[in-house]
Symmetry: C3
Subunit: 121 residues, 3 copies
């Protein structure tokens, strides 16, 4: 006989096979729907990643700019600091000269007062 | 009867079932191919993410270094600014002394001129 | 006859169809397991991306802060540099005055010495 039977020789109706096939189709539908969802999320992830890459690139450029400014500031500050030391040294040298002028002036004043006294004597 | 029939009692040929199975196989092949593609893209995404994580980590380190330099610059600039104020104060004090010396000198010059006149008289 | 037969008219046993369905079920199981794994990895990727986005956002904020500090430093340094130039100019003007006072004092000293000689004569 060419009838469709199961292992135990029981006949299997076409309905059983068709309902099995239907269940398979249902499962595959679910799998395909899941795959569709995952593909959409994967596209979202790809877009997120591209955005992040753009953000990181921009941030890296901004950082390079900032770093360049900081480098210039370092040099500028060193220069200004050297200028301050230079001015301070000049002020100190000038201070020595002002002190000397003051001392000599005091001596001159003392001498002049003495003379004034002589004249008046 | 053990014959394979559909709901309406019509016989279903093995060919119909086999062709349904073949269609199922074709769909599953597509699903597997899609899954394969998605796995490859997922690996790409993972690599992209790893690269981005590396970039972000490097950027964070660079930023920490730059920030450290900026902190030092802030302190250095405060120090230089304080030094400038200090030098300015010394210059101002010196200015008072120079003015005093100038005034006294002018008085001395006036007195000396008077004397010179006396002598010449 | 309603028997299930293949193309060549050979009977197809229910076993053949059931074993084909079983193979299909096995393949679908694999596909579903693969999909499950990919979904888990996709969630991981999403979490990784969220973490990276957080890191990048924090880094961007930190960079903005650092950049703001650098901007202030630039202004401060320009101000300090201008102050140094100002002080330097004052020191230079003072230098001219100190030199003049020194020169006049030397003249006064010379004159005074002459007079002292006169007196003593």
């Amino acid at each position: 006989l060419t009838g469709v039977e199961d292992e135990t020789g029981q006949p299997i109706s076409a309905m059983t096979i068709l309902s099995l096939l239907e269940r398979v189709a249902g499962i595959i539908d679910n799998v395909q729907a899941g795959q569709q969802r995952m593909e959409e999320r994967q596209l979202e992830l790809e877009n997120n990643i591209k955005n992040i890459q753009g953000d990181v690139l921009k941030l890296a450029k901004d950082h390079t700019t900032t770093n360049g400014t900081v480098e210039k500031l370092l040099q500028k500050t060193r220069k200004v600091s050297a200028n301050v030391k230079d001015v301070r040294t000049r002020v100190e040298k000038q201070n020595v000269r002002v002190k000397k002028v003051e001392t000599t002036q005091n001596e001159l004043l003392t001498r002049n007062k003495f003379r004034v006294v002589i004249y008046q004597g």
